[in-house]
């Protein structure tokens, strides 16, 4: 067994920038691809082909712009921003994308509903029922593991909107669960 610790993201980034080290970049890709691809699958409403195309574009953009990475944020946060912008610009080619759509009617909570069937529901399909803003907030805070503040900055919406998107999205998912379990 190799006793050498895994190099940190920052070390790998420096190796890529200083020595054009492709192996180091591939290690970064392997380390973060699951997060980037799952975020993009959620944003793309479960379209895995589109998500993987956008994930590849994300890593190629990261490669080109790696010198601009300032180490003031986590590398994963920086990657999430690139992935989100890649998705946003692709989605905007086809339709209007509303990330700040707070004017929706609140979804009623269903406290006490049994959600033991949660594992059985198709979460991907349920997430597809959310609005763009709600999916973006869920993808950022759960799949990219960003704080609400980081998510607000990355998505470009106010912190309060992120919080209300998360609450509303979870309420919608809970309602969907209850509906499916009936």
């Amino acid at each position: 067994m190799n006793g050498r610790p895994e190099p940190a993201d920052a070390e790998l980034v420096l190796a890529v920038v200083a020595h054009d080290d492709r192996k180091a970049f591939t290690r970064l890709v392997r380390r973060h691809e699951s997060m980037v691809r799952s975020v993009l699958r959620r944003l793309s409403r479960g379209d895995h082909g589109l998500a993987d195309d956008l994930a590849q574009e994300t890593f190629l953009l990261a490669w080109r712009n790696l010198r601009a990475f300032r180490f003031d944020a986590r590398f994963s946060t920086w990657l999430y921003r690139i992935a989100f912008n890649a998705w946003l610009s692709d989605a905007r080619k086809r339709r209007e994308v509303l990330l700040d759509d707070e004017a929706q009617a609140p979804v009623p909570e269903e406290p006490g509903r049994a959600v033991s069937a949660a594992e059985r529901i198709d979460l991907e399909r349920a997430l597809g029922c959310l609005s763009d803003g709600e999916r973006a907030a869920i993808a950022a805070c759960y799949y990219a593991d960003l704080t609400h503040e980081e998510a607000a900055e990355a998505i470009g919406i106010p912190l309060g909107t992120v919080k209300s998107h998360i609450l509303r999205a979870k309420a919608k998912l809970r309602a969907k669960l209850a509906e499916d379990s009936r």
């Binding site: 054009d20 492709r22 970049f25 591939t26 890709v29 392997r30 691809e33 699951s34 691809r37 799952s38 699958r41 993987d52 994930a55 590849q56 890593f59 190629l60 490669w63 080109r64 959600v115 033991s116 949660a118 594992e119 979460l123 869920i138 759960y142 799949y143 593991d145 979870k170 998912l173 809970r174 669960l177």
Partner: protein, 109 residues
């Protein structure tokens, strides 16, 4: 405060987010799609510029006997007398500069 992890939706989302996606050749596809190695081009440009400069200078030196003047050469060319030793030296130098310019333009594009 409500324990977030008791919330089934919270738990479901966190479990789904933790589920890894198999690489399935993805990292290799990214590696193949990367632009050509910078190292391969780093030596190419100076080598091309240097070799073409040397070739142009050698050509000018071979065509121009000792004592030629580039100024006189350009004056000769201006008077349409391009067969004089000075004019040939000037033409050789101009050719070398043109080659260098072409190499630099090709590298930029």
């Amino acid at each position: 405060m409500k324990d977030l992890f008791q919330d089934p939706i919270e738990r479901l989302l966190r479990e789904d987010a933790r589920r890894p996606i198999l690489d399935d050749g993805f990292a290799l596809r990214v590696a193949v799609a990367l632009p050509p190695a910078r190292a391969a081009r780093m030596w190419l440009k100076p080598a091309l510029v240097l070799s073409s400069s040397l070739a142009g200078s050698l050509l000018a030196w071979l065509l121009a006997p000792a004592g030629v003047s580039l100024t006189q050469g350009f004056l000769d060319i201006a008077r349409l007398q391009s067969q004089t030793p000075s004019a040939l030296a000037a033409l050789g130098m101009a050719l070398a500069m043109a080659v260098i310019a072409a190499v630099l333009v090709a590298d930029e594009s």
